[in-house]
């Protein structure tokens, strides 16, 4: 099964929230191997998670130089 980019973003998001099935993981892996844009989106979803977790910890005063 070949995923479109639209379907891929949906699965990437759901992969953050539930365990994907075997077929879904295979289809996702095939698509990501071929698609830079969707790989970038995956990295951005991961980054969003760490950034939002960080919201409460990174208060005033702690600034990276």
């Amino acid at each position: 099964m070949l995923l479109s980019c639209k379907e891929t973003t949906r699965l990437l998001s759901q992969g953050e929230d539930r365990k994907l099935g075997f077929g879904e993981r295979v289809a996702l892996r095939v698509h990501l191997a071929l698609c830079d844009g969707c790989r970038n989106v995956r990295a951005q979803f991961h980054f969003l998670r760490s950034a939002v977790k960080d919201l409460s910890r990174d208060g005033d005063g702690k600034e990276h130089s």
Partner: protein
């Protein structure tokens, strides 16, 4: 009503405890106010409403979430290929970045923001979130997907490509 009142208390207490327990929150009063509001009052509202009536029609999205259709062509491929964000880790500790992120979060529809923050900030499972809000898992996933897509667009525009 007794059960739902108990549920309200439990949820409220758990969230307040979670928020109060977070170190370093004191300096960010605005964010704290917003978070508390989005996570506490609205959940209580929702539970109250759920206890009285069936979920409203707008709680049931269609299978196809058309909200971001404009990003894709008719075959579902990117109209414009998303670029990688440059050095996103470097942004994490910066106050200005946190302000941009906060602004993007505030721009989300309230209910979407609530589900997203319950998932990503409080780290709840979608099953827990669904139960608290009385919505289906599918609906939860649609809302989380919307939140992530909206936030990546917002941060791309307002931070990474600024």
């Amino acid at each position: 009503m007794r059960d739902s009142a108990a549920a309200e208390d439990a949820v409220q207490e758990a969230l307040l405890a979670a928020l109060a327990g977070e170190a370093g929150f004191g300096g960010r009063a605005n964010l704290r106010t917003w978070l508390t509001g989005i996570l506490k009052h609205k959940i209580v509202d929702t539970i109250r409403r759920q206890s009285r009536e069936r979920p409203a029609a707008d709680l049931e999205p269609g299978d196809d979430d058309g909200e971001f259709d404009g990003l894709f062509d008719r075959r579902g491929h990117w109209e414009e290929m998303p670029d990688a964000w440059e050095q996103p880790e470097g942004a994490l500790g910066q106050k200005q970045f946190l302000a941009a992120l906060e602004a993007c979060l505030r721009a989300l529809p309230e209910r979407t923001a609530r589900v997203f923050m319950m998932r990503e900030h409080l780290g709840l499972d979608t099953s827990e979130i669904c139960k608290e809000l009385g919505i289906t898992s599918t609906h939860c996933w649609v809302m989380l997907h919307r939140a992530r897509m909206a936030l990546r667009l917002c941060l791309t525009t307002n931070w990474f490509e600024k």
